[in-house]
Subunit: 581 residues, 2 copies
């Protein structure tokens, strides 16, 4: 097992992710508070806390709106930004005031819309509580502030012993609570919830089918992901957490098998999952249409969360590869370069000519606004995903300029990744005993070298380890060759037969109509394999961005940009998969 | 303008369609009555007519259920089958009894679920009335029974002057009423409804968008079909009917332009339209996924209805070509070979390995059962689609063994179509003056000859006409060459790039897993262009069916069957489009 880094032990210093995290802190999270206030999202909490008359209820009718408040609070907690923390004070006061005397807390129910624990399929009460717990954990760990933790513990104490919630989430939160408090009752409750699931006890299966809620097969028995994608992945996050804490290798193996099958058969090149609009569900194996891809931003986030848990549980860096692919290409497209507009779904193709009333640009918010605050909390905690440590040493999983303090050593990373493949690891402090530095060599990389005090050698994809007695001032340099490359799809994906994609390093690229040749619609372009791909700077989009000029038949060239950067200009047609016939 | 045949002037004698119509009469329509009785479909009518206590209302909560009753009655009317007519007597009595004293009739509203004409977006009151009118017209024309007509006229008199209904249908019914009664107020009302539409007056556009209801642009202005497919096509049926009656060529041209664009950009090879599950809507141009094709059976039926109106209005046989393609490949797959099970959606691909809870076999009925009785009424009136006449002569559009009586001549058609391409037209009676016999040469046909008393000559796709002074006993024989053929998709349809389809005559073929080589899943098969297609009898499915053996790479062969016959055996994987890479 690998150990995660403490929230205060990693600092992302500069570069790609530092820019993103700063944007999140300075623009996105404040925008979130503005939206929580200006939409009806806080209204139920105000009702429940007595700050607002019941007659004034206007439209706050989704049962899961509390969760957006909690996700936003979690984002603020991990950010540890003083201005945001101060701004969150009123919201925390509202949450504290809304809790009933007996500990129950769900503002939608308290506002009179339902009875506690009555509608388990759609009620989202435990889902919301799970997010409250995760916010409480963030505020405890990053800020030492236990106001939310007090509320969360009282709310958990009010829970009946045996429930199955329509939207998994609380399972992983309860395990986290045990990790924080040492109280194993929470872990036991999470384990019980997992065992109860899969016996078709959730009402409402007539319309959606039990698989929508992963209630069709036991969490140990299901061999494939099914139903609503975010629900499945959150459920499996909880299953890994329970398996790790209980040493339940069979449960862990079941989740791994589902994950491996999902990556093999139901994941987009971008890491996005859940291809169907209908029910926001996984489709059949290899049912991965680029145009009608649902690929909800939250499903990509859930994929990162689950891959992270599997990485910690197994040490297998293939999960870190998936985290990288999904963060750059599945999560980041969900947010505009300006930080205040969001995509809910993430298609890999949008045509020049479209039906009226279809998808438009990223939106400032959504009536069901799960994705924006989910992006906020992930970006706010992204520093925790870079590295791990164990008894043998330190493992670096994601590359960006950062300072990392582990019990054994302090490391300083310098890199222009993902635009540049050189990653320098400076050892600023180290214990005198020998230890192992592990570096992930991404599986997209076909040529790499490692330079250390032991010399330079070629390394191949997977993990490269250097075990030695390190000295302060030692430098290890990983050089990843990242030419633009052509990627062929799995031939079983019917929807992109006869197409190729362009990638460079960890990034998936796309052709946008703004970069198509003059007087050409992108639907007319066909890749010309006879001429090379050419990386080119794209300062018109962001300062250090590298685009790729793609040769097309007829002597044409189209400029590809990273997929995460699409739809940031006025034109809107786009495709990742380019026909080669 | 062409004149339709009187309901009693065509008799389909034997062969493919005779079998289908007999099945409809003997199995499907009786099954429909059984289902109307055993489901809650008649419950609201019973409530409204006082036959049933209000407290007993169980589940009859869809506002459009009356329409299924009316469609079933229409099917019985056109069938003119004495046993069915007798069986319908109770239902007609129920409908008559349910009408309010002031003429209003909608059992869902009368059962207390709503107020009259309050919910125009979703209420389906005018939609149901439209189907009542069409049933009334059938009973008047085929049986001379005016009980339903009396009810319908009273209900129409209760309508406010200016309404836009969420689900178009009443427009074409009102025009039909004018044609039957001569009362032009109905036509005027229909024309007014068309003009009111397209001004975004229907409530509810926040979730669905005005285009869902074709309320986003005027019926004269919209250049493309949009939104819910059945709604769009029913609306355009009404628009053609109004245009023809008022001589409004601009309105007719607008519908033709939308239709031509739809056939070019949004129709499946099967004639199916409305590719999206979401909102049962047309997608973007060329968004035609085979696996996630919605292609509702009702949308194909609506396509036949609209093409028929355009054929009558313009005389252009391209519309008869589409009717043929859609009847065989878009409508017929909706009903099992046994006649009592139905598909609502009609995908062109189903994988061997599928997500749990997905589509299964055809169902005996649906909670929203629009498609089954729609199939019944179309099959019941199919004889009326075979031929037309005008001042110059007689036009034959669809080929099946039949007797056709026109004012000018009696014709007797003998053919084994669609399995065999020879169509013999016997002239049993004729007026002494010369007249023109017109025969459609389908656009799928690349080689055909016509033999008449004037000799034999090659004819090409389109229309072939013979003008002469006919004699009783004259025979005209059309010989359509129908080898099995490979069809390439439009290169703009991304979802089937690199694939081909197999067709023969008017039929689209598919590979079903039951006919794949032993130990092979159909996903592993790739077409081998180096060997020929071979037509083979398939008596295992139906007596005269012709299948096509398709060469696959690796020396394999897979048996293709007509797409309409798929899912009539135990296995279920299927594909129309076969990879060629």
């Amino acid at each position: 097992r690998l150990h995660p880094m403490d929230a205060r032990s990693v600092e992302i210093a500069a570069g790609f992710w530092a820019d993103r995290i700063r944007l999140n802190r300075e623009r996105t999270i404040p925008h979130g508070l503005d939206r929580l206030r200006s939409t009806a999202t806080l209204d139920n909490l105000r009702l429940a806390s007595g700050y607002r008359a019941a007659a004034d209820s206007s439209g706050a009718t989704f049962p899961f709106l509390d969760s957006d408040v909690y996700k936003w609070l979690e984002a603020v907690g991990w950010s540890a930004d003083p201005a945001l923390v101060a701004a969150a004070d009123d919201v925390i006061t509202l949450v504290c005031a809304a809790q009933r005397a007996d500990g129950y807390l769900n503002s939608y129910v308290q506002a009179g819309h339902d009875e506690p624990y009555r509608d388990l399929s759609w009620g989202h009460e435990l889902y919301c509580l799970g997010h409250l717990i995760q916010a409480a954990v963030a505020w405890h760990r990053a800020l030492g502030d236990d106001r939310l933790l007090t509320v969360a513990l009282r709310a958990v104490d009010h829970l009946p012993g045996s429930l199955v919630d329509g939207h998994p989430n609380i399972e992983m939160a309860l395990v986290e609570l045990t990790r924080l408090t040492g109280d194993r009752r929470h872990l036991t409750m999470a384990a019980r919830m997992l065992e109860l699931r899969g016996h078709r006890t959730l009402p409402g299966a007539d319309r959606f089918g039990a698989s929508y809620w992963q209630d069709h097969e036991g969490v140990r028995d299901a061999s494939a992901v099914a139903g609503h994608a975010v629900r499945q992945l959150y459920l499996d996050c909880g299953a890994v957490d329970v398996a790790v804490e209980l040493g339940d290798d069979r449960l862990l193996a079941a989740v791994r098998a589902r994950w491996d099958d999902m990556i093999r058969t139901r994941a987009y090149l971008t890491g996005g999952v859940g291809s169907r609009h209908r029910d926001e569900a996984f489709g059949d194996p290899f049912e991965l249409p680029p145009d009608r891809a649902y690929a909800e931003t939250c499903a990509s986030i859930a994929g990162v969360m689950l891959a992270w848990r599997l990485l910690l549980a197994t040490g297998d860096t293939c999960y870190a590869d998936t985290i990288e692919r999904t963060m750059y290409n599945g999560v980041l497209p969900g947010i505009a370069l300006g930080g205040t507009r969001f995509f809910y779904t993430n298609p890999l193709q949008r045509r020049t000519h479209r039906a009226p009333g279809g998808a438009g640009p990223r939106q400032p918010w959504y009536p069901c606004a799960c994705c924006p605050p989910n992006l906020m909390r992930l970006l706010s905690s992204w520093d925790q995903y870079l590295a791990t440590y164990d008894d043998s040493g330190v493992q670096l999983h994601q590359y960006t300029s950062a300072e990392i303090r582990t019990p054994r050593a302090d490391l300083r990373i310098g890199t222009g990744y993902p635009w540049d493949g050189r990653v320098a690891v400076h050892i600023d402090r180290t214990s005198p005993e020998p230890w192992t530095l592990s570096l992930r060599v991404p599986r997209w990389c076909r040529s790499a070298t490692l330079t250390s005090p032991d010399g330079t050698l070629a390394v191949s994809a997977g993990t490269v380890k250097r075990h030695r007695r390190w000295q302060p001032g030692d430098v290890v340099e990983l050089n990843l060759d990242l030419p633009a490359r052509i990627t062929e799809p799995d031939p079983r994906i019917d929807a992109v037969r006869g197409c190729v994609a362009v990638e460079r390093g960890p990034l998936v690229y796309c052709i946008e109509s703004a970069d198509a040749p003059v007087r050409t619609e992108i639907e007319e372009l066909t890749w010309d394999p006879g001429r090379p791909l050419t990386p080119v700077p794209r300062p018109d989009l962001t300062e250090s961005m590298i685009g790729v000029d793609v040769p097309m038949t007829g002597g044409l060239t189209a400029g590809a940009i990273p997929y995460f950067a699409w739809a940031n200009r006025t034109t809107e047609a786009m495709r990742v998969w380019i026909p080669r016939l």
